[in-house]
Symmetry: C4
Subunit: 246 residues, 4 copies
Amino acid sequence: MAAQASTDNNDHLVRSSDSQHPANLIPELCRKFWTLGWVTGTGGGTSIRDDDLVYLAPSGVQKELMKSEDIYVLSLAQQTDPKSRIYLRSPPSLKPSQCTPLFLAAFTKRGAGCCIHTHSQWAVLITLLLENSPQSQNKNLFEINNIEQIKGFGKGFQKQGALGYHDTLRIPVIENTPHEEDLTESLEEAMDKYPDTYAVLVRRHGVYVWGETVHKAKTQAESLDYLFQLAVEMKKLGLPWLSDIS
Amino acid sequence: MAAQASTDNNDHLVRSSDSQHPANLIPELCRKFWTLGWVTGTGGGTSIRDDDLVYLAPSGVQKELMKSEDIYVLSLAQQTDPKSRIYLRSPPSLKPSQCTPLFLAAFTKRGAGCCIHTHSQWAVLITLLLENSPQSQNKNLFEINNIEQIKGFGKGFQKQGALGYHDTLRIPVIENTPHEEDLTESLEEAMDKYPDTYAVLVRRHGVYVWGETVHKAKTQAESLDYLFQLAVEMKKLGLPWLSDIS
Amino acid sequence: MAAQASTDNNDHLVRSSDSQHPANLIPELCRKFWTLGWVTGTGGGTSIRDDDLVYLAPSGVQKELMKSEDIYVLSLAQQTDPKSRIYLRSPPSLKPSQCTPLFLAAFTKRGAGCCIHTHSQWAVLITLLLENSPQSQNKNLFEINNIEQIKGFGKGFQKQGALGYHDTLRIPVIENTPHEEDLTESLEEAMDKYPDTYAVLVRRHGVYVWGETVHKAKTQAESLDYLFQLAVEMKKLGLPWLSDIS
Amino acid sequence: MAAQASTDNNDHLVRSSDSQHPANLIPELCRKFWTLGWVTGTGGGTSIRDDDLVYLAPSGVQKELMKSEDIYVLSLAQQTDPKSRIYLRSPPSLKPSQCTPLFLAAFTKRGAGCCIHTHSQWAVLITLLLENSPQSQNKNLFEINNIEQIKGFGKGFQKQGALGYHDTLRIPVIENTPHEEDLTESLEEAMDKYPDTYAVLVRRHGVYVWGETVHKAKTQAESLDYLFQLAVEMKKLGLPWLSDIS
């Protein structure tokens, strides 16, 4: 029976005429991110959580061409074994994203509603500049202060309000691994060490950014990319990332 | 009564089928500014004045997604207390922009018809380059001359005609404050000190640009961003901003 | 009579359902050029010649918003006095472009079918780099060779075929003047001195590029902007514009 | 007879309502590549192979304006003489691309399903940086490792799977020639010397990238352009392309 078959794969989970439905929002966001150079060459990805349901872009698709029927869906509650995933809905002839456990970390450890992963060159260059910085500097932490756009970030996990202009934004950097899912442990460690961060840089790879809502995750991802680009240009012009203004 | 409720919030002030109506123009401009990187991460904003009525983009919205129903409206004549604002029309579940008193300064002190606030990275880099310039240089004034695009600026307040190619364009820089509305006093001081300027840079933050009309404000904002970008590239290439050609 | 009034201003000259009609093509091209940063802040412009008729973008309009009814039309044959222009069709409440005599120079001296004027920052930076180059170098000539994109240019006036990969592309630079129309004489001198050039750079201002057809003018304008951008990046990286490969 | 005439030129080969048909895909891809700066000034091109049939963009067209009726079609099996081409379908008043024998090399020697040729400035700058590198370095090979985007490439001809994060991506560089078709021999030599490469850089010219499918060719072209841009920025910031991480 066709109806049965359709139910089996739970296609109804990704079918909605509401433009704000996660299965419609993810392709729309990915189209926008492609124009920003964040998801070039099928890299990067985006996931949205709606209560217990998690919607995920698949692996290896051209992000500007993604459609709602390409979206995976899983239930957070059903993920008991960290090594295997149970999907409520899997698109035929696609593969789940290796980013999945990393998105889940933001959802389970931080209650995030959306997580965005970009390969933005500005993010990669920041991690390379830190890697090549003098011995005295912490190579695993990007710090910038006294830039208005920092106010685009929340104060932190379960805290009200946004960072202030004079606050120092700190984004931890973790080392890349050959298999993306193997980043999960060090991503979670970075979250534990910097409980208020909304982002983790991955050396020579890109960045993961999340937020309580799609709106907040996107605003923080844009603000962070702005700050990464600005910081790279500051480096070219000999301008320091930290200053004493107060 | 629905009609009553609708009248109370003056929704008719933002409803028009005319594409040139301020409530339609502001979202259209903001979409364009988003593609230029001026209003990334909900930063920046735009306001249009039509006689006594001022139309304002709200705080914290994704600027490329803004709709006419998101627009605030106030009457200039009714703003008697500088510390509090009375809105003729407030969108439900949004907050007024902290830029509001700064936009109002351009409208009341200069009779501007439109004011644009961007977080353009080129503007921020100019303020950083000035901050880090040698002691002998004025760190609070951007100056450039002998570039054709300078002709995109009017001569000044209540003056006819445009700047000439050999004229020096001077844009004052004010220091940023933790709360954007606290910029108002120093913005007004800069306007008093440079009565003919159509723009004020805010250190580590961005720029405010205005004009008698939407057309003029946009033309000046584009021309200024062009000059900021050019000036940053000139700095990278060792080219001076001021020259003696005449 | 309405029909009479319409005929008087020759509005039929700019009304066509053919997308390739000059009055439709100029706005379409200007929209594209705006996204390339060539006509920021109402700067730059485009003109197309169809036999004796010349179609011109007006002065001071937002180039990405231009409409066919904004277009001026004149007859080449009727322009007997170089100091005054007779227009067959003038849009109400707009002003003719100061670029007009420069466009006409390309049409009358070179038989061009289209002339494009940009304020591209790459063009401006090339003229600044030449101005600041060592004494031994010709500050009034941009030269580059051994780049494939050079093949985007024709060999020259009334010559068949395109430049080769090993050919040196030479673009003369003229000094800017306070009034754009005063560039006409030096533009014509540069055309006389470099009879095969399809472009003239204007110091601290931009570039004029033309071609036998709209297609050729646009191809040459794009190729030239590509080479200007490449040359600026080469300068940043310490790479010479001329090389001895053969 | 109209039907006869139509059959003669095989116009049916480029007429399809399927958006995934090569004659529809090539113009769509070229529009996208134009916005990326890959096919400026009619430069660059794209070809798709569907079994024995090869679809080719013509020479000298504005790539963002290309239409399906502009597409050439040939049969691989019928190409017996390397110096002459037999076309099943030729658009009237256009010329075949000089890139044709280079595209065919990817199809016949590697069984590629799509080949993309760009004039990307990042590709050109990489070849210039290598040309100007110290004597000790191989000027004919671009190498980069330990960047996540490298995983956007397949392991090589008739091999399963993708490159790993720690693998070194190697792209050979061949010298440019005055006539593009004369690149064929050295392109084939580079393919023989680097049998697993999916791309060949052409000095001072651009790059050829291919893949088993359109999807893979485009993903590899985007990933490569990303790496070229990143590598140029790394050079500006004094960061090495190769590192010892493992």
